[in-house]
């Protein structure tokens, strides 16, 4: 017997094969009926945004992965309550932000140092994400040091400043989108972004080699 998943996709199962062309509202409607494939498609669409947000907020892959998964599970369970009065991404960000805040409450005792993600090897500890395009070992060390310095500085920012930098600079959302996600007005977004950039700059200035002055 052929299972539905094994069945040929064209012309069979056209509604599934065209999922990637559906707009969010269609996928949401289907997800509300328990269609996991439709929800998978939503996950695919917003995976990078949500993961990057979680990763940059926590500065730790394990934590980010937990938060990422928890956020999407929450979203799936609660999608019936999603109303189209906001963008789906806004709703998702609110969820991942809440999951993050809850998680951090539980882990409040954990120092930032433990959030640095190193891998223990026989030769000691190395950072996991040295994956630049074939740099020389010396360049790799330099790049990694710069990256770690920036990540450390971001991790030391207050959460409100960190999240706005991630949303604006990395995830590239507009002032208006950020205002909707954070539930603040656009003017507050601008002033908070200004403070966050200055605060980060002041921390980074301790690492003179990061700047070309």
């Amino acid at each position: 017997m052929i299972s539905p998943r094994d069945a040929p996709r064209k012309p069979e199962g056209p509604s599934r094969s065209s999922l990637d062309q559906c707009d969010d509202s269609v996928l949401i409607a289907r997800s509300k009926q328990g269609d996991r494939q439709a929800f998978d498609q939503l996950v695919t669409r917003y995976s990078a945004q949500i993961y990057n947000f979680a990763y940059r907020m926590t500065n730790n892959r394990d934590d980010a992965e937990d938060i990422y998964q928890e956020a999407f599970l929450h979203a799936f369970r609660g999608i019936g309550s999603f109303r189209a009065d906001s963008a789906f991404s806004t709703w998702l960000y609110r969820i991942v932000r809440n999951v993050y805040l809850d998680e951090m409450k539980r882990r409040r005792a954990r120092p930032y140092a433990s959030l640095e993600e190193n891998i223990q090897t026989e030769d000691g500890s190395i950072a996991r994400d040295v994956q630049d395009d074939a740099p020389t070992p010396e360049e790799a060390v330099q790049i990694n040091e710069r990256r770690r310095a920036v990540r450390r500085a971001i991790a030391q920012l207050p959460e409100t400043q960190r999240e706005i930098l991630i949303l604006y600079e990395m995830n590239q959302h507009s002032y208006e989108e950020i205002a909707a996600i954070l539930g603040i007005n656009v003017g507050t977004v601008k002033s908070r972004l200004n403070r966050a950039r200055r605060s980060l700059r002041d921390r980074l200035l301790a690492e003179k080699e990061l700047f070309d002055l």
Binding site: M1, I2, S3, P4, A7, P8, P11, E12, G13, P14, S15, S18, Q21, C22, S25, V26, A29, R30, K32, Q33, G34, R36, F39, D40, V43, S47, A48, Y51, N52, Y55, R56, E65, Y68, Q69, F72, L73, F76, R77, G80, D132, R146, R147, V150, R151, L165, E169, M170, N171, K190, L193, N194, R197, R198, L200, R201, L204, L210, F211, D212, L213
Partner: protein, 285 residues
């Protein structure tokens, strides 16, 4: 501190270097008018402190947007674990499940009398997801739509767009009990849910759709009207939600009534065939 004598009106009453510096974020984001940008550029040429302030901010922003901190996506194995977990998650009872429950509670006794021992399968068509359903005053709450289904004899007919069909035998062991029809909007994809309830288990079942000409499956631009679509293949049972509640994305190319033909087969043999009219309308402006 720089003592710029003549401030510019970037931040209202914030004058002098403080006023300029508060505008640097907007400057870097390209949010300022040309005159304001030029005023800042003139100012930083004269003021070393503001020049340094702006330059270090610019480089900070550049660092944040550099490949040093790339956009990260979840690793494949994390996605795979999430997919597994999603399979195991049970959503809170969805509206159609509530509908079904109500229908069973309200109609179980009379249904049993009417259709004997349940040797019936129900093909129930819903059109949901068509945007702007409220233009026709259709109930916004899908639960309400479903409640209508539970009252076959007295369906609400909001604005005349809900039609009830009496039970009609359509094949061996299969009946259309009722369906609710909402119009779809021409040119806009809509999700149609096909509800198949077999009177007995079909271990090697199959549900197939033959859309009419002018009705594409899979969204606009994918017109394959001559093809049949295998919507489901596998056990068709009351316990198998995949076989009971099958979503199809349809898009009507033109106004009018389109006929969907649905067959339920077992081991390749057609047990029943139903035709379901689907109305497509052009939205009123």
């Amino acid at each position: 501190m720089c003592n710029e004598a003549r401030p510019i009106d970037l931040w209202g009453e914030f004058m002098g270097c403080q006023g300029y510096q508060r505008s640097f974020t907007a400057y870097l984001d390209g949010e300022l008018a040309q005159g304001q940008r030029e005023a800042i550029e003139r100012h930083v040429q004269r003021c070393a402190e503001c020049r340094r302030d702006l330059e270090t901010l610019r480089q900070t922003v550049r660092l944040l947007r550099s490949p040093l901190l790339p956009m990260e996506d979840a690793p494949e194995e994390v996605r795979a674990r999430l997919t597994q977990k999603l399979r195991a998650v049970r959503q809170p009872m969805s509206w159609w499940e509530r509908v079904r429950l109500q229908w069973r509670v309200a109609g179980a006794a009379s249904q049993a009398r009417t259709w004997g021992y349940g040797l019936a399968a129900t093909a129930l068509l819903f059109v949901v997801g068509a945007s702007n359903l409220d233009r026709w005053n259709a109930p916004a709450n899908p639960l309400h739509v479903g409640v209508g289904v539970s009252r076959t004899e007295a369906l609400p007919r909001p604005d005349g767009h809900v039609a009830a069909r009496l039970p009609q035998p359509v094949g061996e062991g299969v009946q259309i009990r009722s369906f609710v029809e909402y119009p779809v909007v021409v040119g806009r994809p809509a999700i149609v849910y096909l509800f198949v309830e077999p009177g007995r288990d079909l271990p090697d079942g199959e549900v197939r759709l033959y859309p009419a000409a002018g009705l594409s499956v899979g969204g606009p631009g994918v017109l394959q009207s001559d093809a049949s679509y295998l919507l489901y293949q596998g056990p068709v049972t009351r316990q198998n939600p995949q076989s009971r509640w099958i979503p199809v994305e349809l898009c009507a190319a033109r106004e009018g009534t389109h006929i969907l033909r649905v067959t339920v087969r077992e081991a390749g043999r057609v047990l029943s065939e139903v035709t379901i009219p689907l109305r497509a309308v052009v939205p009123r402006s």
